[in-house]
């Protein structure tokens, strides 16, 4: 027959096992480093947290999506409303597109520095597809930033 002490030990062992299995929060400095890395390079936040498989997969997927968009004649949007190729009125919607694209971090910055997508080609048949893929890459990277923060805060593994 089990005594009270036996039961207490059994429960303690069970809770210890549950506690070992639970995700743990990372130190604040690493948490911040991971989120900043995720902001700059898709997948880098997961790499910082040691999730190498996921990090490389996300890097390849989102960078690939951005490159695919550029190869489909996407244009880069800018943070200030500027006249479009169609009219002299400020393009406020373009600012929203900018916030979507800049989410991809270095992809946008490198493209800008290399002059890729800086000249709009709206007459190209794939222009809208290209814009969609570049924005998709940025918006999905915003999701990855939240995911990195959740992992770093110990809310998920």
């Amino acid at each position: 027959m089990q005594t009270k002490d036996d039961l207490t030990e059994e429960f303690a062992a069970r809770y210890a096992a549950i506690d070992d299995d639970a995700p743990k929060a990372y130190p604040a400095s690493k948490r911040m480093l991971a989120v900043v890395a995720a902001m700059l390079v898709p997948g880098a936040g997961h790499l910082v947290l040691g999730k190498y498989g996921r990090g490389l997969l996300f890097f390849a997927t989102l960078t690939g999506a951005f490159i695919l968009g550029l190869s489909l004649h996407a244009r880069l949007f800018y943070p200030l409303p500027s006249p479009t190729e169609h009219s002299s009125a400020p393009d406020f919607v373009g600012v929203l597109w900018f916030f979507a694209q800049i989410g991809s971090g270095f992809c946008y910055l490198v493209s800008y520095l290399l002059g890729l997508g800086t000249v709009p080609q709206p007459s190209a048949a794939t222009y809208e597809y290209g814009n969609t893929f570049t924005c998709l890459a940025g918006l999905l990277n915003y999701l990855l930033m939240y995911d990195v923060y959740d992992i770093a805060a110990g809310r998920k593994r």
Binding site: L62, F133, D147, D150
Partner: protein, 58 residues
Amino acid sequence: MHFLMMTLYATITAIVSAGIAPNLHSNRDRLVYGLKVFGMYLGIGLVLSWVLFAIPRW
């Protein structure tokens, strides 16, 4: 062309969705979830396209 783009879009979104989905602990679970998301994107996209095709344009 449009179907190819839709497939690529669904693939990219499914990969990220499966990668960040909570409460999936094994790679197999993530693969199954990713395939479901991919299938739903394509399926719902095709259904919507036929619904829109059936609606007359004025």
